[in-house]
Symmetry: C2
Subunit: 385 residues, 2 copies
């Protein structure tokens, strides 16, 4: 085994956002050297890495030259130059997840076709190379309302996704390549994080549940474990493992799933990295997702994925009508509540719906955690000064 701890071994991370920042808690804990590349000089990862480089993640030369200097290369965001990753791999560099895995995930059209080829259950879909093709399909009645429109690339945190119910909804859609998916009527939106190391050790985290606001149709709480039958949970974990194997994935793979009205499990989409649906793990799990990612990509033994206690995660997003220097109003009030930990990502400017942090609520009794989570949600506000 390579000597990673307090040595000259260097892990390179493409992307320096909040996921990278939380990854750095773990590299610090293990005293593993890190280099981070991010376009913003104000990236949350700016400190706590050994070397920070400002640069374009989609630029071939920038990514290639950055990768040359490190021993293992990983990413915390999918929007990176795959050709540079492939070239580095061809030259013998360890890149996890691999360029091939990312190629099958980065473009949502390719991702959906991958599921079809590998007989992984997913909602019916059509792929279009641009908006013109999409509108043609509507005109020809090859595609009917309602459907879910997704941009093939660049979607993130709810951007690049729309439910299209009428011709009017088509107007604001972006011009580029897209997919149209059947709108699924589901009981629950679930997620499973699978982790695999290069030696082939595989584990899954418990199934988590996204609880939606009854009116706003927005995820309000990520709940671990999901309040579902064991049989559904087992089915979800098995499908997630199948997905991970099909992608020959190394590291963390967050698999988002629908539980349909008749308890079928469909794969919605995946993220080959630490994921919002796993943030609860920092406080609730024996091994949090960020430590697990480090273990996996360095081919160390995987840690225990079970939970110590029930965990609920609430995103902290910028309040509507507030743009400017951020203030976390009433944060001291939520910190007085039982088992509540805020995580502040370090973005100085708030904007409506910008993801600024998250709050974890842990409790032995999940129902109690759920009550506290609601209080948290109703108390803290992310506003401008």
């Amino acid at each position: 085994m390579a000597n990673y701890f307090s040595s000259n071994f260097t892990l390179g991370i493409l992307g320096g956002g909040q996921l990278g920042k939380m990854l750095l808690y773990e590299t610090r804990k293990f005293d593993i050297k890190t280099h981070v590349l991010d376009p913003s000089y104000e990236a949350p990862c700016k400190i706590a890495c050994d070397a920070f480089q400002q640069g374009d993640l989609m630029d071939y030369d920038t990514v290639y030259n950055f990768g040359k200097k490190v021993d293992v290369l990983t990413f915390e965001i999918e929007g990176v130059n795959i050709d540079a990753l492939a070239k580095l791999e061809a030259e013998g560099k360890k890149v996890y997840p691999s360029a091939e895995t990312l190629k099958n995930i980065q473009d949502k059209g390719v991702q959906k076709q991958f599921y079809k080829q590998h007989k992984i259950p997913t909602s019916p879909f059509l792929v279009f190379k641009d908006k013109f093709e999409l509108t043609e399909a509507i005109v020809r009645k090859d595609l009917s309302f309602p459907f879910v429109w997704k941009s093939c690339t660049g979607g993130y945190d709810g951007k690049g996704v729309s439910v299209v119910r009428t011709e009017e909804d088509v107007i604001p859609l972006a011009e580029g390549a897209c997919i149209a998916e059947k709108l699924i009527s589901f009981k629950n939106e679930l997620a499973v994080i699978v982790v695999r190391n290069p030696s082939g050790e595989v584990k899954t985290y418990p199934v988590v549940e996204m609880e939606f606001h009854p009116e706003a149709n927005q995820v309000e709480y990520v709940i671990c474990p999901a309040r579902i039958d064991d049989s559904v949970s087992e089915k979800a974990r098995n499908i997630a493992i199948k997905v991970s194997e099909a992608f020959k994935h190394v590291g963390l793979l967050a698999v988002e799933l629908f539980q349909t009205e008749d308890d079928e499990i469909l794969v919605n989409e995946v993220a080959p990295r630490p994921h919002n649906s796993g943030h609860y793990s920092i406080e609730a799990s024996y091994t949090n997702q960020f430590e697990q990612q480090i273990r996996a990509i360095l081919d160390l033994p995987l840690g225990k994925t079970e939970s110590k206690v029930g965990g609920i995660m609430v995103n902290l997003v910028g309040a509507e009508g507030h743009t400017g220097e951020v203030v976390y109003k009433n944060i001291e009030k939520i910190m007085a509540m039982d088992g509540v930990t805020p995580h502040i990502y370090g973005k100085k400017q708030t904007r409506p719906f910008r993801k600024m942090g998250h709050v974890t609520i842990v409790h032995e009794d999940l129902a109690e955690a759920r009550k506290i989570a609601e209080k948290v949600k109703n108390t803290i506000e992310v506003v401008a000064k």
Copy 2:
């Protein structure tokens, strides 16, 4: 309340060792700005703070000028210039713990006299202004063997402490001011971490137990909760609170205690900062001691001190006969064990008995954790390359 989160508020930390390093995980989590002062340019805190300054912690001007630039000043090591702290306080700077508290703790002779004045149970002792006075007392039979010798200042991690059984044991003792304590025959060595914020909120962590090696008389495991009767535990927590109140202490106070053969509780010594006996809390507690320290000194509400699971801590110290660039032999083997997390402090050079890191073992069943802890201890080795 001041706005600490993603603001210009700055916390100053005197000392940049492993305790500071673990404190910085929490300031990063809350996005609180930090400045760190440490004599070594290779300090574990070098990265992850917003500004690192190299300088002498005992130098008045260095500490004073460092303190002037921050909003709240704290320390992670007792060996700092108290006059500079007092001057900063007099000028209105918030210093936690205060100069007065530290003055009563920094010198072990003063600390013991403080317990006597405040009727806090502690072992009988004598204070000597130098080694000459000590030897005189032995000659005059004012002091008889065996006794525990402690240097009044500079003691740390077992340095500056000796059990003196014969005249021969007196020879190697240092020249400076010292105390001689009655050698207590105890059942258990316990510790309680008390936390208080400036608003007066007080909490205690569960009592932990130091388990000694049966032959080597060296602490091998810190076990939480201690395997003692509830009545002893309650007594220990109450005495710890009394100690904290007497010191008018703000922040964390680690109170080391003896449980005598007849279940009396005696205060051994205290540390006004995060402490080795609280490291288990990172994995086992609802609020780890480092987050709790931040909450306390910023006058935020204190977090829950209960444990989620049983926790055991094993120190990683340099193996005998090994000096040089460190290698953590078999670390991948302990990482394959259930609920095991290594913490590597980031010191590049190992020396016999140097504290290089620690390992936490958590398990629902404390007896199971204890078994795994023994396996950890027998597996990992801190050696030179």
